[in-house]
Every structure is written in C-alpha cells, then in structure tokens.
Amino acid sequence: MKAVIQKRLNRSWTVDILLLVLLAGIATFMAFPLVFTISNAFKPLDEIFAFPPKLFVRNPTFVNFTILPDIFSDSWVPFSRYLFNSLFVAVVGTGGHVIIASAAAYPLAKLKFPGRTMMMSIVVLSLMFTSYVTQVPNYMTISWLGMLNTYWAILLPAFGSTLGIYLMKQFMEQLPDELIEAGKIDGASEYRIFWQLVMPIVKPAWLTLIIFSLQVLWTNSSVTSHKYIYSEQLKTIDYVFGQIASGGIARTGPVAAVTFLMMLVPIVVFVVTQSSVIQTMATSGMKE
C-alpha cells in the first residue's frame, strides 16, 4: 500500500498520459515480429505464400506442426537426442556461466586485492574486440585441448563469456559496504557472504543474465559450434531446424512452425524470470 502512495510522488497525470501514449505507439511498432511469427506458424500454405503477405492469419491450422514428426521420422539420430543436446547445453552453459561469473564479479566489485583494477580493465577491453578474428585462435586452442567434437567446446567458452562478469560486477558495486561488513562481523566467510548475502540481493541481475545466456545458447549454439562439433549425435536443435529450412520452398510451412517453437523457449524463460524480477522488487521494497 505504501509503495503505491510513494509511486505517485512527484507525478503529474498529463505527463503520465503522454508517456503512456508514446509507450503504446512504440509497443505496436515493436510487437510486429512477435505477431508475425506467431500468426505465420498457424497459416495454411496458401496464406503463407499470399502476396503481399497479410499480418494476421485468416484460417488458423495446425498442419505446419503436424507435419513435423514425419520430417523427423527419417533422421537416423532421434529427435529427442537433438532436444536433449540443446537443453543440456543451454541449461549447463547458463548455470555454469551465472555461477562462475558471479563468483568472480563479487571480489572485483567489493573486495580489495592486488590486481583488481587491471583485471577489470581487461574484462571491459575484451568486450570491444570483434569475435570474427578471434575464431581462428579459438579453434586452435580448442583443438589443442582435445575438446573438438565434445560438449566442452560449446560449454567452456560459454562459461567464460565476458558479458556476465561485467553485468554482475556493475550490480554488486551498488551494494552498500556496510552490508558486507555486517556479514563479516557476524563471522561469515567471504564465500558465505557471496552466496547467502550478495547473491539474493542481486537477483534481478542474474535473472537478467539467465535470459541473455539462455537466449544465445538455445537459438545460436549450432552457429557458434559448427566449427567444433561434427558428430550428428552432438548437434543441437537449432541445427536440425536449419536443416528443415534448407529443404527450400516446400518446407516453408514447417519452417514457420519451427521458428515459432524455437522462439517459445526464450519467451517462456523471459516471462518466468521477468515476473521474478518484479517479485524481488516487491519484497526488497518492503524491507527498506
């Protein structure tokens, strides 16, 4: 209740309405791909090929989805294996990255030790180097480590991705030092302070990081890994879907269905994590 009153502090209705109108306008503009992809998946073939294309579906059908099992039935690696690979890579890669990057971000943000400034600037600088030219050295490293054609070739680089540590470090920097001091006075070790004190407070940050990491690993892992992985059994679902798309114009229907299915996972994760972001806000607001 208190939060509601607070929120109206310093607010005028006219500006409120103007901002909402602006927001609605932009939202319509941005919603376009979402609407288009969803409605395309349910279009019968003649509507998909209608020219000029219509945004909304007239006669919705599930035919694009019901063809999919037939298409997968003649692949010699079962579909479930691709699905497992994708889930495995996305979940382990994201989980590992969030934990490892947060653990490294905590000392960078809140502890004093020799080498801190330098490590931070290396992290920031490396964000600015294009990955196109680092691919060749990366291939040589992965091959030298004997990780070609294993899950590790996708997982390890995902663990060490630069975005996460920088994001987590920036959020942890905001925490008051007194909080960590209080933890120390209570006799908690640095590891416990990190895991039980700091991590719960920066929940909005790692929930956001989960979205970023999962989105990349789920939708793109075959793009980044096609150089390292050549066994069919280790390939991910986006690779299979790419194969469907390469079937050409006759596969346009299934491709629309598949595009929709691929988008569904990041969206579900997005909705789940974003609503938790709101929950943390509600609880931390009460504590204040």
Binding site: I100, P114, Q174, L207
Partner: protein, 317 residues
C-alpha cells in the same frame, strides 16, 4: 600473477624491491579467497578470450593466409589500411555516421523506456517488457524490413506511397545509395531495446526506494528532477554497462547490413568496418589484414568508451 606484480610496482616504485614484493605477496595471501572465487572464471576467460585477442593483435603485424605460417609484416597492414584502401575509408565513414546516430539514440531509448515501464503495475510491466524486447528475442525477424522496403510496387512502403500518390513508381529502397544507410540506421534502432534495456530494467529495481522519499522532503518537485538527481546517479554502474554494450553493438554492425542489403552493398553505401573485416577474413583469407582492421576498430571503440565514461561521471551533478 606477473602482470599483477607489475601493475602494483607501477604505483609504488620501490627502493627495496624485495621487501615490496614480500608485502605484495602477503597482501595477496590475505585476499586468498578473492583469488579462489575468481580463479574458475578468469582461467576460462584467459584461455578463450584474452589469449585469442592478444594473438589477433599480434597477427595484425603479420601476413597470414591461414595456410602458410604467418610472416612478419611490421606496420604494413596498417599502412595499407589507412593509406591505400579507399573502401576502408568509406567503411569508416559509414560506421562512424551509423554509430554517431544509433549509439546515443538507442542508449537514451533503452533507459527512457525502461524508466517509463518501471512505473507500471507488475502485469502490464512484464508484458510490455516482452513486447519491447521482442525484436531482440526473435532471431532474424528483422528480415521483415526487407519486405517493407522491397523495391517493387508490392513492398509495404512502396505500395503505401503509391496508393496515396506520393510517388508514381516504386522506389528502389535497398539499392539506392541515398537510402541504404538510413534504412540500416532505422532497423538498428528498431533492434536496439536489447541487452542494455533489460539491464536498465533490472537496475531500476535495485535503486533504494527510501532515496525517493528523502528526495521529496529535500524539495524535488517533479519526475524529471527526481530522474536527474536520484535515479540516474543511483544507476551509474548500469549506465556504464549499457554504454559499453551500445558502443560495441553500434560500432560492430555487420549482420543486418549483410542480410538486409546484401554483400557487398551497392556502391559500398552500407559497407561497415566489420563487413570489411569479414570480406578480408572469410573471403580473401587475409587474416593479418583482417586482424589489423579489428585492431583499428578496437582502438576506435576504446576512445569512444573513454569519452563516454568521462561524460557519465558528470551525470546528476
């Protein structure tokens, strides 16, 4: 470890080097837990990011075609790049123009929309976040813009303009050097509510709410003052994060140019530094030259970043 030691000795050049070293060692031993927490990440990070970047920078001083071992070239690649390569200069001009427009606009937009959305009740808030983030989550749906700007009379924009009599014949949007860069900028702006946007939304959650009450008591009169004096300073870490993300994404533009405009673009009107790099790296197999392009781009981004961070320090003062 060696680098750390060096960094330390720079701030305090020591007469008794050995004692200094011992003290540093003691200090490092005291913060053992810090290194333990960082070890897993930085080990992987060093192997998969730092080493490749250093190797690429070294390769920029060589001739390397990926078949024969690299041979030393000194500053040849850089000299060729800056003096002889006219196309590169076009790419630099396009990229700077593109970044100068999309960088600041998308940065402000990310913050602005995160800020408005943050005041909504939870349910509409989550929905609007999803909708605004949709272009970033849905892969390559920006290809819809190819349909919009299609050069025949069936393209959405052409058919609209022709129906209303603004033009008499279809405009070749994606083939006309006058429009190409503008369309690229438009599409990038449409895609811009991505990483920084979500980071800002999460960041707004962590602003201490008591600050607003205190501010109201201290005489803050409207939302704009509140934004400038309370929200922005409290969000400085996220603002710095967002700045780097927007800088890297606006300077490293390549994919949308290649998929939307083709490669190479007509008269290089949509040619950027990174498409130039892709040309040399993956088509001509001139890895030394491609690395030199990456190094130059890296330096441009670094300078922009220094300027931006200086500017951000002034926010809310």
């Amino acid at each position: 470890m060696q680098q750390k030691a060096q960094a330390h000795s720079v701030d305090a050049p020591s007469p008794g080097g050995e004692r200094k070293f011992l003290r540093l060692f003691a200090e490092m031993k005291k913060s053992k837990h810090a290194y333990v927490l960082m070890a897993p990440f930085f080990l992987i990070f060093a192997v998969f990011t730092v080493v490749p970047v250093v190797m690429s920078v070294l390769l920029s001083f060589t001739h390397f075609n990926m078949l024969e071992p690299p041979s030393w070239a000194g500053f040849d690649n850089f000299a060729r790049l800056l003096v002889k390569d006219d196309v590169f200069l076009v790419a630099v001009k396009n990229t700077l123009l593109f970044a100068a427009i999309t960088g600041p606009i998308s940065y402000v937009a990310c913050f602005f929309f995160a800020w408005i959305i943050n005041e909504l009740p939870p349910k509409p808030r989550a929905l609007l976040t999803l909708v605004l983030y949709a272009p970033s989550i849905s892969g390559n749906t920006y290809m819809i813009w190819a349909l919009m700007f299609s050069g025949d009379s069936y393209g959405y924009i052409n058919s609209f303009l022709m129906n209303w009599g603004f033009v008499l014949e279809p405009v070749q949007w994606l083939q006309d050097t006058r429009y190409v860069l503008g369309i690229l900028i438009l599409v990038q702006l449409w895609l811009s509510l991505g990483t920084s946007f979500l980071a800002f939304i999460a960041g707004l959650q962590t602003v201490n709410r008591t600050l607003y009450e205190a501010g109201a008591i201290d005489g803050i009169r409207n939302r704009w003052q509140e934004l400038w004096f309370i929200t922005l300073p409290a969000m400085r870490p996220q603002l710095m994060f967002g700045a780097i993300i927007q800088i890297t994404s606006s300077f490293a533009v390549a994919e949308i140019s290649i998929y939307l405009l083709g490669f190479p673009t007509v008269d290089y009107a949509g040619h950027t530094i990174v498409t130039h790099l892709i040309d040399y790296g993956t088509i001509r197999f001139d890895m030394g030259y491609a690395s030199a392009i990456a190094t130059v781009l890296f330096m441009i981004m670094m300078m922009t970043n220094v300027l931006t961070q200086k500017f951000l320090k002034k926010v809310g003062e």
